[in-house]
């Protein structure tokens, strides 16, 4: 009888340890920041500029990730082809790049002497050191997280609903927009949240590929670095601000659309029936 609670107890212990490990550093940062410093940052022009750049570039990057990542995920999720598992691995690979290497990779691909450099120059485009470069760097490091989750979410859409849509006269495009997309939206939102969090914290590839110029390419993480030397507390306070903003955004993203809870049972049932 005394042995019984051992398992739930060890689960709890492991959870407390994991939770403490992941949260303590966050909490510790806040204990180092005088609250007044945190609030003051909202009046600091450098921080305000960086905030605007961060929000703007992250939102544009996010939009691009959704715009290109969603169809990519849909294609991979709905088509059977050889090398599918390899394709998913390739999508995951950018995650492994150390940030500076990622930045160099972006230079080597999209820089002025990069693979596409001359092509881009024909169109009058020079990407490095522009806000576009920030967007590309963020998109590069964050999109694998979204695309991977999106593939799983689209795979989870009941195929018979897609088939039903087609037999009801809907084109593949209409089926995607009216059926697959609304039904996958919960998983897509979760993936977008991960990508968004990663993008907002992105530093290494950005400073390499886009540089750091206040009001143009200096995002919040870059501003933190610039402030390290001078005013350590200010740097930390910007970090704190970043955490608070991201937490609010993540929670907001978690607010699911109204119908998703009611569909869960029926999806579940049809899912099971297919598996059995």
């Amino acid at each position: 009888m005394t042995r019984r609670p051992l398992f739930p107890f060890s689960l709890l212990v492991a959870t407390v340890i994991s939770g403490a490990f992941l949260l303590l550093p966050l909490i510790a940062i806040f204990t180092r920041i005088p609250l007044s410093t945190l609030v003051d940052q909202l009046g600091n022009q450098v921080v305000l500029d960086a905030l605007i750049v961060s929000v703007k570039t992250t939102l544009i990057a996010q939009a691009l990730i959704l715009l290109f990542g969603t169809p990519t995920a849909y294609l991979i999720a709905t088509r059977q082809f050889r090398g599918r598992s390899l394709a998913i691995t390739l999508i995951e690979l950018p995650l492994v790049l150390p940030p500076a290497v990622a930045g160099i990779g972006l230079f080597a691909a999209f820089g002025r002497s990069g693979l596409l450099g001359s092509t881009l120059r024909v169109f009058g485009l020079e990407l490095p050191f522009t806000q576009t470069a920030v967007v590309l760097a963020v998109a590069f490091v964050a999109s694998p997280l979204y695309v991977r989750q999106a593939i799983a979410s689209f795979e989870a859409v009941d195929q018979s609903l897609v088939d039903a849509s087609r037999t009801l006269g809907a084109s593949p495009a209409r089926t995607f927009a009216r059926i697959a997309l609304p039904l996958a939206v919960g998983g897509l939102a979760a993936g977008a949240a991960l990508a968004f969090a990663r993008g907002l914290g992105e530093f290494g590839a950005t400073i390499m590929f886009a540089g750091s110029f206040q009001g143009v390419t200096q995002t919040l993480p870059l501003a933190i670095y610039a402030e390290f030397e001078n005013r350590f507390e200010v740097a930390l306070a910007i970090g704190g601000l970043l955490v608070v903003i991201s937490a609010l955004l993540l929670v907001a993203l978690k607010i699911r659309l109204p119908w998703t809870s009611s569909t869960s049972t029926s999806l579940f049932l049809s899912a099971r029936s297919r598996s059995s």
Partner: protein, 231 residues
């Protein structure tokens, strides 16, 4: 009688990456940006010696009680680097006045940025700051970008420039305009091996150490101390 010395931990500015192990290969080094190292020290990092690419950081740490009194152990010089292909055709620092040049400088919050602004002021070239496309925190990042031919020019330390001289052309800057760039070194207050830490600093300050530094492009300290006092 010499006691057997323990390995000490040296936190040193990234520009010292190659030279310090040549001076003493037995110690444990961690090379990073001086500001990042300062942050580590403020957070109580367990190390023994701090070698910074400037004197303001060690002085500030000294004032805050994190390190003993720092001494200057070497100096450095600013140079302008351009890609070997030199697409903007920059021959001298005055060519930076052309419009549309992609110029990299350090941010005003890091030493390289402060020095760069000083030398530009001395040269009456502050107008070229309008050509700046990025204010960087890390000299190596600037060098990498120039080496990759993605930026047209950057102000960096001569010692860093030497490490990639097959990828960049070094344009020297007039000596009269050079700001004093002095490297400070100090023992951490929290060290458990003060004797070994002092011994290491003395090794750097000694003739052999200074010779290695000069070979790497660093400058000699005029009227510099040859033994570390601390305090």
């Amino acid at each position: 009688p010499r006691r057997t010395s323990a390995q000490i931990r040296v936190l040193a500015a990234a520009s010292l990456t190659n030279v310090f192990p040549q001076i003493d290969s037995t110690q444990k080094y961690s090379f990073a940006g001086s500001d990042a190292l300062a942050a580590q020290i403020r957070l109580g990092a367990p190390a023994d010696v701090f070698a910074s690419a400037n004197t303001s950081i060690p002085n500030a740490l000294y004032a805050q009680g994190f390190v003993e009194k720092p001494v200057v152990f070497t100096t450095n010089k600013l140079v302008l680097v351009v890609p070997t292909s030199n697409p903007a055709g920059i021959k001298t620092v005055f060519d930076l006045r052309q419009k549309g040049i992609k110029l990299l400088v350090g941010t005003p919050t890091v030493p390289i940025g402060i020095y760069t602004r000083t030398i530009l002021k001395n040269l009456a070239l502050t107008s070229v700051l309008s050509n700046v496309v990025s204010q960087e925190t890390d000299v190596r990042q600037m060098l990498t970008k120039v080496a990759l031919n993605e930026a047209d020019a950057a102000f960096v330390y001569i010692t860093d420039a030497k490490t990639v001289d097959d990828k960049v052309n070094v344009i020297r800057l007039p000596a009269w305009a050079q700001p004093p760039i002095r490297y400070g070194i100090a023992v951490l207050k929290s060290t458990q091996n003060r004797a070994d830490a002092v011994a290491f600093i003395n090794k750097v300050l000694a003739k052999a150490g200074q010779a290695k530094l000069r070979a790497a492009g660093f400058g000699a300290v005029k009227n510099g101390v040859t033994t570390y006092a601390g305090g």
